[in-house]
Amino acid sequence: MSLPADIPNPFRESVVADPWSADGVDVPRIHASVFDECCRAVDELRSSGRSAGILIQGQAGSGKTHLLRRLRMEFTSQDTPPTDPPRPRQIFSSIRLQTSPGMIWRHVRRRLTEDLLRASDGRICQLDQLLRFRMAEKRPAIGHLDLWWQYLWDEHPDAVDELLDHLAEHDGFDYPATTVLRHFLGGTHRRETLGWLRGEQLPDSALEKLGLKPSDEETAEPEAEARAAIRAFCALAGPQVPVVLCFDQVESLQADPEDKAGLFAFGQLVAALHDETENVLIVSCMQSSFLDDIRKHVRGADYDRIGSRATLGLDLLRFPQSVELVQSRLDAVEPLAALRAGHGALWPLSESDVRTIVGDQGCTPRELLKSCAEKFTIAQRGAAVDAPPVEEFLRDEWDGRLDQAIAKNDANNTEPILARGLPFLISVAAPDWKQQERDPRLPDVDLLFADKATNARAGVSLCTQGSMTSLAARLKRLRKQHAEAELRKLILVRDPRSPIGAGAKKANQYLSELRTNGAAFHQPSPELLAALDALASLLSEAQSGDLSAAGETVTPRTVREWLAAHLEPELSEFAELVTGAAASDDASDHAAADEDAAAADRLTEFLQERRMATIDEAAEHLGCDALALETAARRRPRQFALLTGPPTVVFERVESASPP
């Protein structure tokens, strides 16, 4: 009996992209011992009062993310906990380490917060559950927790403040955090509140709404702040509610295979979490191919903490497990049921097919599914269908990722995109250059690159501060650092969607001085930032072994070579700006670019008040040339929209991605 062509191939999907993705076919027996060990560890945390680490290693395609999804399902299931007041059993967060070593704490804070704010299946989010539970501990809740909570807000709103103060005292929340949590509970200033919780750099106006002052940039240490926030979130959960932090794609912290800083930073992160908290289970997933690298680059004491409870390998599948996986995939396709009746359990495949695929040392689930998909296609069509060449696959991946990056791109992500993407870009576009560790003498230079041959250094400072006070403070410090540093080039980067208004006198003054002294000021377009984001995401997934073309793992080297050959011109120019004697060094070009950027900044600021205006009105109001203003707007199609006149009308585009 032949297979109709319209029956979907049950073996096509072989990658679980995200532990939070919808539930799929799962064979509990596969990696059961590793799963059980994680569950036991969570249970024991409740009584031990000591954080612990589990290191899980496996080949590319061995099912690391699949296992995390199983853990997520287990730890966020809806079983009613047998406690009064009801409390979450544990907090779960899964963090792909697609970030740069210098922003690792901020990245973890952002992802942890996003998971704490996830509301699934109509339930309140994990953070809400935690806060209510902790408050009910202090002021006993009678009856249903939701009703009690409503009663408290309606009848005793002042009590909420008292309870928050109590939490702040016990869990290490400072005044700004307590203030923001109150907004969170009350549902006020939602956008600003969530932005603050995620650690975004908020403009002065947003901080004002929340009742907070701009942070003192002279002493601000964003990484230390993020670390303190994570500690406070974990403390908020309390000893009876373990926090499960799963780190995936650790390998993507490396900008290139020689990069040591990424893995070192990861070791430090885990060690700090391990030692500074009492209720955290840290699950770290890595490729077994990196075993020797991890041992080499992570400090011994940190490595011990990564696997303080257990170091576990995800074994290759043997025959019985493989049969089970194949069968469960076939079972999941309903139209196949009737056709399979009267045949073997694996029809249209056979046991001998599976045995051959498994071989004498076993195979990964991805390898098994890939081969089964091919055999299913042959059974269905009489011949194998050639997989598209890897170039075609990468082109499709690139286009898809670029679209996604454009859709989700907003100014709040600019700093992490640059911090993560630029090292990847340089490693692809200028392999003769190498990222260097940060220089303690240049605390405001976020990224340093050096020419391998001449050791000439170029520094990049991410001037993405939302608050003009903070920006001015940074530029002031940079002025001094630039004068003293031996840098061939200093590039200041700022998102054009966060204009430096004419009112920001100090910031403008320091910026102007820096540029006079040779620093370059670059405002990457949203399209460029999206391309950088897509590049980093593609390379990160390849380095983590999660990029698969028709079931075949695509190596990082292949991706690098493809990217080098197909780099978007804007990305090449950006890399050239950092590493080469870029055109912007030319004085007249520099001045023209400055004027163009300044015009766009001022127009943005003007439109944030007026929403819409004719070009002539805007030019008159801003005191600048109308043609120059129109040109600046036309150069930034994602930022401004123009209605052809006469008169020509300009307005600011609305972000396509809506805030959560």
């Binding site: 011992s33 257990a310 576990l312 390998g313 074994d315 290759l316 793992t553 190596t555």
Partner: protein, 333 residues
């Protein structure tokens, strides 16, 4: 408490010292000799030194040039020691002339480079050492304790080809399929070794250990007089592998062990790479251990790949764990 005698060295004493030196695989310093002697033959340092001086004068033992600041004694000559060192170095893996020179340089004080070259030539003429033709794209000859193995050359050439062709999108699998096609169905299994029984299998890192059928080798490799302990049998090795893995991971179940770390365990010093690989692959087949393949072996240089276990299909394994379900199993003798 150890008693140190003050009795003058006797004929018996001298012969005990000679016997101790004779049994030693390498020259010993006076202090080491003193520590090797037991019971009534433990002397004060000056008395032992007097005995050694007398034995040297009587030409019953040799005094070798200072190593780490101390002279050493042995019943064999400096040339003999140089021969042993060279053979030991070449027994691990084939080396070029300059690699060999670097390898033995510090441990052979007093032997000029010229003399080392002469000794190497003598060993070659006597058939103890084999000069191997250069690998593909290389002009450097290498030396080995074993004759050239075509499999090493084919593997090396395939690695080079895979690296080159990967740049134009041809992956390793396609390359191997093409090779099989070109060979047109010829047997791809390596032919049985034609080496005489006294020769051990090739020690090359790239030898196709896994391509051979599972072995039940029971013979004990013979100590060839180079001072190394006898090589354990495969089944004993298997037991040792599991034991060492459990020791490295502090008995943590299913923990991954780096093949490089495992190979460095002193218990495997005298074990050839091909034997070690074969035992690991066999344990994998029997589901006692789980071998983990390196996902991007071509991103590593040859030296790094050489540290991994290689099967007969171009797959490199860089890590291994004891399978959970078999961790309580004992390897049967």
């Amino acid at each position: 408490m150890t008693t140190v005698t003050s009795a003058p060295p006797s004929t018996e004493t001298a012969s005990i010292v000679v016997k101790a030196l004779d049994a030693s695989p390498e020259p010993l310093k006076a202090k080491q000799i003193g520590e090797a002697l037991t019971g009534p033959f433990r002397f004060k340092p000056d008395e032992l030194q007097r005995t050694l001086d007398e034995l040297v004068a009587a030409k019953r033992i040799h005094q070798l040039p200072p190593y780490q600041g101390k002279v050493r004694y042995w019943t064999r000559s400096l040339d003999e020691f140089a021969r042993t060192r060279i053979r030991q170095a070449l027994d691990r893996r084939p080396l070029t002339r300059s690699e060999l020179k670097r390898s033995v340089k510090t441990s052979l004080p007093g032997v000029s480079e010229k003399r080392q070259g002469e000794i190497l030539k003598e060993l070659e003429q006597q058939g103890h050492v084999h000069k191997l033709p250069p690998l593909l794209n290389s002009r450097t000859e290498r030396f080995s304790m074993r004759p050239a193995d075509p499999r090493e050359y084919v593997t090396h050439a395939l690695d080079k080809l895979a690296e080159k062709l990967s740049k134009v999108g041809i992956d390793e699998q396609r390359l191997r399929a093409a090779c099989r096609e070109v060979l047109d169905g010829q047997a791809t299994e390596p032919a049985p070794s034609t080496a005489p029984p006294a020769e051990r299998p090739i020690a090359s890192a790239t030898a196709h250990a896994g391509a051979t059928a599972p072995q039940t080798e029971t013979s004990v490799a013979v100590d060839e007089g180079n001072g190394r302990p006898p090589v354990p049998r495969d089944d004993e090795l298997a037991r040792l592998v599991i034991e060492r893995m459990q020791a490295i991971t502090s008995a943590s179940h299913a923990a991954l062990v780096s093949i490089t770390d495992l190979r460095r365990q002193p218990e495997f010093d005298s074990v050839e790479k091909s034997t070690f690989d074969r035992v690991l692959l066999d344990l994998g087949r029997k589901e006692r251990v789980a071998l983990h393949r390196h996902d991007y072996p071509m991103s590593l240089d040859e030296e790094e790949r050489r540290r991994f276990v290689l099967d007969g299909h171009g797959r490199y394994y860089n890590a291994v764990s004891v399978r959970v379900e078999s961790r309580e199993l004992r390897v049967e003798s």
